[in-house]
Symmetry: C2
Subunit: 212 residues, 2 copies
């Protein structure tokens, strides 16, 4: 298909597609004449993925590039690829970490038998966690750390479902794309469903009629 | 304390404090002379809450105002206040909803015996959920909806921990503040801990050594 049809089928304006091509987020089409290129379904698929990363994930172009690099690297186990993708889509926080919050994270990792992340500032993911606990502490919620263990317990149920979902995809490319999409879209879905879970549990615990 | 000390103790620059005062996010101090006001610990506390909403929640000034209104409204049950706060901190999405994604959400609610949200576009929370499923569908993940039920199962464990945490706070003001902080900071913590849960479960399921 030509760029116009690629635009029509993806809903992405032509100038944006050209921008992605220049930024290397989308591989070049096959030239059919000096100023006309041909694109196929793989381009369409990659374009939709880039849009999902930008629109749902709110990722910067640089982060999208990192994610695509992680996806396209062939010589990695799926486990380490999942780790690389998750690093790429986690934005490092600008918050200056409270040393006590760093200790909270380290204590949590020790309890969980995680030895990989001794330095929490080395990973975007653990940095994000320490930053959230830093803010919690700054508003007087030092004990927010006590929620980490039950959170992990609930999130393991979710991770199990995620991995079954991912494993059910056909090809290896599908699996990897499902990881990225599942992680990003999953974050938003979790946010929304968490509200419903709160409503259901609070109706049971607090009741919805009278003031407590 | 004077505005300079309020700034020092909160880490918020004086011009920002004055902006919050003008926007009504922070109640005025008590005037001790025509151009000098006195602030107390309640101001400090509210200021830190506003910062948490802006910094961690990424909320706009308008959303912060909505959250504070929900917090300050006296004549509501805790259950409905929790609902109002969660609406206020959920950003409506600009995505045009796919009717099939709306059906996915409605089917999920029916299975869960939820009858309150017949029109998913009426609530920011359900709109966010339908928007995420719309994007999932656009990248070929129609079956992402199958994850909603296991997600809710895991999130109920988390909600239970959240509500116990909230109930453990002393005064009613503390409880309400804990809801807001817990929901927002919790979203970020969940994002980070979900990565750890993925790592733990994928090590078990996929293995971390060889390529699958």
């Amino acid at each position: 298909m030509r760029v116009g049809e690629l635009s029509k089928r993806s809903g992405v304006p032509v100038p944006t597609i050209k921008y992605y091509l220049r930024e290397g987020l989308l591989p070049a089409g096959v030239l059919t004449s000096p100023n006309q290129a041909h694109y196929d379904d793989e381009h369409l698929r990659r374009l939709r993925l880039v849009r999902a990363l930008v629109d749902v994930g709110g990722l910067s172009i640089a982060s999208v590039r990192e994610v695509l690099t992680a996806i396209d690297t062939r010589d990695e186990s799926l486990h380490s690829k999942l780790g690389a993708v998750q690093e790429a889509i986690s934005q490092p926080s600008a918050v200056e970490l409270d040393p006590l919050a760093i200790e909270d994270v380290q204590g949590f990792f020790r309890r969980q038998g995680e030895t990989e992340c001794a330095d929490v500032t080395e990973s975007n993911v653990t940095h994000m966690l320490a930053a959230a606990l830093t803010v919690a502490r700054s508003v007087g919620h030092d004990h927010f750390r006590d929620l980490l263990d039950p959170y992990l317990e609930g999130l393991k149920i979710i991770a199990q479902a995620d991995l079954e979902y991912i494993a059910g995809r056909g090809s290896r490319d599908d699996v990897i794309e499902a990881m990225v999409v599942g992680t990003l879209i999953g974050d938003t879905v979790i946010k929304a469903v968490r509200r419903l879970a709160h409503a259901q549990v609070s109706r049971k615990v607090i009741g919805d009629g009278s003031d407590s």
